[in-house]
């Protein structure tokens, strides 16, 4: 399997990783451009960031790299894989990151944090996400994850003056590096048991060995722990509320919305493409994690008065639903989980976008009370927030309902009756705290009467994001079929 040097510099390889190369090049361009522009013209950096995302999307979706009848294309001696699932997840990463940039520019201008480092670091994180989505080798999984994680740690500490942000970054760093260590430990055991780092070869070896190989099982347990840490599911969720709360809202928006898609892809590649032969074993672990997350996330969110913490606990429960979709290990199950994770990213981008919108005079609108009487101050923004909350709660017509429905249906098809029942019961419990926000906006007196100002691009982005909540719900079949056809 030791490939030749000529094989590595083969032009076909570079065509396959063209999106990654483009993002990397533009990151370096932004680094340099920032040296030569004046501080008041930082808008150029924002523009360059958006151009990067738009062209990355064009390059990714151009397609045409697959040979006849193939569903995957490999590059660099099988360490890198392009497939439909990866392309769809990457495209949505660009889309959500473009939204994040639009929201974050407004926030950073307000809090005098508008520096180019945010763009370079988040583009590097995006590169990590893309590599993680396309990894077909344990080494690539680990390196992509580290690239994403290191950039995220720095982003959380981005506001150097804030002690809360530094504390959050420190917690994130310590727990995140421990999770990476555990993941690496699991990978080393799997390498020891199967003798390969390549996911396809691991898959063959794991299918042959089955559950009898105790070392393989041990490695799998550590892998699941590492994945659970990165997804942030109970009992590995401790970092989520503190990091979401402590980080500047623009960064919270980023780490809440975008990396979850990469974490899903990582879980799929490792557990299904790699250890598909041990499905019975990891299914039990994921079932426990899913149940605990859905319960603990929804119950703890009720007690929060800070909206960033409330959304953090709601993330935990949403990730439980994603795991629920992955449990059956079937194509429809993974399709449902992928649909859920994309929908979740769009919802959380809109929710944190609203938190940024209501921030003013250098104070973040992180209290639930800040949403009081929003309808009186601006009915349209209140309507957007209401749509996001309805969608998160899983009210029919809104897109969140279809996401929940699909994963629960996948669990039911696999005969996991009690799990599906529990999920339904706790989404009803969860509806309480989402609807409380709606009640605060429509039936309470506003604390401040000041009008809400935002630049045009922000207003356009949040409006589109809000309309997507109901638009994707009414025309839900398109995105669902895209997700379902990614796993065949």
């Amino acid at each position: 399997m030791n490939g030749s040097l000529l094989d590595s510099v083969n032009i076909g390889n570079w065509m396959l990783i063209a999106p990654e190369l483009w993002v990397l090049t533009m990151t370096c361009v932004i680094l340099f451009v920032d040296l030569y522009i004046k501080e008041e013209r930082r808008g150029i950096i924002h523009l360059l960031g958006m151009i990067t995302l738009i062209f990355a999307a064009i390059i990714t979706l151009r397609g045409g790299y697959l040979e006849e009848g193939a569903t995957q294309a490999f590059a660099f001696n099988d360490t890198f894989v392009r497939d439909r699932m990866g392309d769809v997840l990457k495209a949505f990463s660009y889309l959500v990151l473009a939204g994040v940039y639009t929201y974050a520019k407004f926030y950073m201008r307000q809090f005098s944090l508008f520096r180019s480092d945010f763009y370079t670091l988040s583009l590097e994180a995006l590169l990590g996400i893309m590599l993680l989505i396309s990894a077909n080798n344990l080494v690539m999984v680990y390196l992509g994850l580290e690239l994403l994680a290191l950039a995220s740690y720095a982003l959380v500490a981005f506001d150097r003056g804030s002690q809360r942000a530094s504390e959050a970054a420190m917690k994130y760093f310590v727990l995140g590096s421990m999770a990476s260590g555990i993941l690496l430990y699991g990978m080393s055991m799997i390498y020891g048991a199967t003798g390969s780092l390549d996911l396809a070869e691991i898959s063959t070896a794991a299918a042959a060995a089955g559950s009898g190989d105790i070392i393989l099982l041990f490695g799998m347990v550590f892998l699941v722990v590492g994945i659970a840490f990165k997804l942030g599911v109970v009992p590995f969720h401790m970092w989520i509320p503190d990091v979401y709360h402590g980080a500047p809202a623009a960064v919270t928006l980023f780490i809440a919305a975008v990396p979850k898609m990469a974490a899903f892809a990582m879980a799929y590649r490792l557990l299904q493409s790699g250890l598909g032969g041990l499905h019975v074993d990891w299914m039990q672990m994921l079932a426990v994690l899913a149940v605990l997350s859905i319960m603990a996330g929804n119950l703890a969110a009720i007690a929060q008065t800070n909206i960033k913490r409330m959304l953090a606990y709601s993330t935990i429960s949403h990730m439980g639903f994603v795991l629920l979709g992955m449990l059956p290990g079937t194509a429809t199950g993974f399709g449902a989980a992928m649909y859920y994770v994309i929908v979740y990213s769009l919802m959380s981008a809109a929710a944190f976008g609203m938190v940024i919108l209501l921030s003013h005079h250098g104070v973040e609108a992180e209290k639930l009370d800040d949403f009081k009487g929003l309808n009186r101050r601006n009915p349209w923004y209140a309507a957007i927030m209401a749509m996001v909350m309805f969608s998160m709660a899983g009210v029919p017509i809104f897109v969140g309902f279809f996401a929940k429905w699909l994963v629960i249906k996948a669990a039911l098809d696999a005969g996991l009756m009690w799990l599906a029942l529990l999920a339904v019961i706790f989404s009803v419990v969860g509806a309480f705290y989402y609807l409380r926000v709606v009640k605060l906006m429509y039936f309470d007196e506003p604390l401040a009467e000041s009008s809400i100002e935002a630049p045009v691009d922000f207003r356009a982005a949040i409006s589109i994001n809000g309309i997507l909540m109901i638009g994707l719900g009414i025309f839900s079949s398109a995105l669902i079929s895209v997700c379902m056809s990614s796993f065949t």
Partner: protein, 204 residues
């Protein structure tokens, strides 16, 4: 017991012991030195695997460069670790309980299910005498693992950007030299020639 196993268990025990000391000693300088010992033991274990190049690199890079730098920093900054360790004793009982439970559980699984020790695997075949570890590493890095190698480079780039972003701050009040202005300075900028009449007449 063959010599190779004795060597392994000796260095493994030293490694684990030193690693425990790193996080438990009071003096940060000692902690850094114990970390050096940890790296040395790890390098010795790697030698057992016949990866001479990596073992030497570990000693050169980590012990020679990184840890010396670390020692400089630790010695220059007067870090008071006492407040940092306040929570340590408080959480120790709970931490030890969890650790012991996990260790016992792991042991039970291993003992009951078996097949985890070195007897479960065939021992690796020793390399021929003309085997060159350095050449092998180079070949694999630039062929099979070319993409991961490049990504590792990008990770270093992120580390640079992050370090600059988190520590660089401009202080307008700080006084610093501007070499360009120093070089370009002319005599007229510094010295003003003043013609003065002498106050009193000099007596002849």
């Amino acid at each position: 017991m063959p010599i190779i196993e004795i060597t392994f268990y000796l260095f493994a025990a030293v490694l684990v012991g030193a690693a425990v000391m790193v996080i438990s000693v009071r003096n940060p300088v000692y902690a850094a030195l114990f970390l050096v010992l940890t790296f040395f033991s790890a390098a010795a274990l790697w030698l057992l695997l016949e990866v001479e190049f990596l073992a030497i690199v570990l000693v050169l890079v980590y012990v020679g460069a990184v840890m010396v730098l670390f020692l400089f920093v630790v010695m220059m900054l007067d870090i008071n670790l006492a407040p940092l360790k306040e929570g340590f004793i408080r959480y120790l009982p709970a931490a030890i309980t969890v650790a012991v439970v996990m260790a016992v559980e792991l042991m039970m699984v291993l003992w009951v299910r078996g097949k985890f020790g070195s007897e479960a695997f065939e021992s690796p075949v020793p390399h021929p005498p003309d085997y060159n570890n350095t050449k092998e590493v180079g070949e694999w890095l630039y062929t099979q693992y070319m993409l991961p190698f490049e990504v590792a480079g990008i990770i270093l780039l992120v580390a640079i950007i992050a370090a600059v972003a988190l520590t660089l701050r401009r202080r307008p009040e700080a006084k610093r030299q501007d070499p360009a202005r120093q070089v370009q300075v002319k005599r007229d900028d510094r010295i003003r020639m003043v013609k003065m009449k002498s106050e009193t007449k000099v007596e002849e």
